[in-house]
Amino acid sequence: MIPVIVVFIYLVIIGVIGTLAFRRSQANTEDFFLANRAVGSMVFFLSIFATNMTAFAILGSSGQAYRQGIGIYGLMASSSGFVIPLTIFFIGTRLWAIGKRFGHQTQVAFFRDRWECSAIGTVIFALSVAMLVPYMIISIMGGGRVLNDISGGRVAYALGCAIVALVVTANVFFGGMRGTVWVNIFQTLLFLLFGAVAVAVISHGLPDTFGHYIQKIATNPKTRYLVTRERMPERYFWSYTLIPLSSIMFPHMAIMCFAARRVTAFKRTVVLYPLAILAIWLPCIFLGVLGTQLEPGLKNPDGILLHLLTDHAPAWLAGILGAGIISAVMGSDTHQVLAVSTMFTKDVFAHYGGKTKYGERGSVHFARGFILVVTLIAYVIALVTPASIFELAVRFAFSGFAAMAPVMIAALFWKRSTKYGALASTLWVAAWLLLTW
């Protein structure tokens, strides 16, 4: 029960930080959604990194490494470490400048102004929300799994999902972007430390060395594929270098770019980003592969890290490390929830006259109402979906947003691009998502 108590203490700390942010908040949408565009350099890095690291990064990666081996690191992590900082460098900085110059708070607003077309914004809004909800679902699933596994089943999966969804919702509901960013500082530091500490602790608790287990995997023809990429087609591996293009198209990433105080905040972020990915993914992938020897035959390998921690770490440390995993889960979920409500409020509610009718305060109330509705939908789907975290993320969120990246690139760098081209491209992505359902 000790790990559960530690995790609950962590959740209370998150709640307290959110409350403090709420006390500092002002009743206008610029403050609620973008923290008055005043996010400093180091906080910007910690927050934008938390924005992108989901349950996928810790639970999904280790679970998939358990199934497919070390290739998952090159497939998702090192390719992300190359592509994402490049997109932040070339696209994120331009988005920031345009947002500052014209007051945009979302990418949808930018697209509407860029091509002077309301419809393109509405279509991109609808598609973005449809692709973002699966991403929210994996966060809720991840939270439920952590609480369920770490409590040895005492906290039911459905209750675990509900607790995480509730804390995230309350944090965004009251704290807005400021609450989200403040919580992110604490969360990112916690989950950046998670990997190294987990490896050290598990190593200490094993009867043999890591090298012994890896040699055992490598010399057995049935398991050798786990420490090579012999079952991973080279073309499949290459195709995943396109997946991280999704990152800059995530509405929550674009909104974070708008929130920076100065464009120089991006400098530190793009350099540290690949190293931070290394710090999280390398231990998770390695432990996922190691888990095939220590915890063989798992039906749902997404929980492999939790099994390893429960069996090989002291209870209190397992709790802190569990909190580290939940940090990754919640850090991104809060941004996703905030992004969905920001887009709804600015791109639909205000755009179609709601703000004129209900005023600035009314807009914030509607944003909060929308947060509740979307989280509830994501929660219900999280309880019934049979898909794994990896599958959900890749099939719906990553592929869809990556396919939308050309629209962003055209908007920023192709002067002769037209609204018809952008609209056709967006509808094509929507059609393919439906056709490959």
């Binding site: 090159g74 992590a77 190359f82 014209f102 007051g103 607003a109 080279e234 350099v271």
Partner: protein
């Protein structure tokens, strides 16, 4: 200026190509530090290389002109969506 752009484009393209380390595809050994399979160690090193590449880009082609952007709207809290 043009030469610098060409060189940096070539650098980024070369690093992109290096991601596809086909020569490590079927190898597990040698194990770095006695436990890290070579394919995983290579890709971990690649992440460090990506950080170095970004540091070079920040130093050489940072979009300095963006640092002087000023808002064109009177009420920054107003709604432009």
């Amino acid at each position: 200026m043009k030469l610098k752009a060409y060189l940096l484009t070539a650098l980024v393209a070369a690093i992109y190509v290096l991601h596809q380390d086909f020569w490590n595809w079927r190898k597990a050994e040698p194990l770095l530090f006695g436990f890290l399979p070579v394919g995983l160690a290579y890709q971990a090193g690649y992440s460090i290389l990506a950080a170095v590449m970004m540091a070079v880009l920040v130093r050489t082609v940072w979009p300095k002109h963006l640092e002087y952007v000023e808002p064109e709207i009177k009420d920054p809290k107003g709604d432009r969506s």
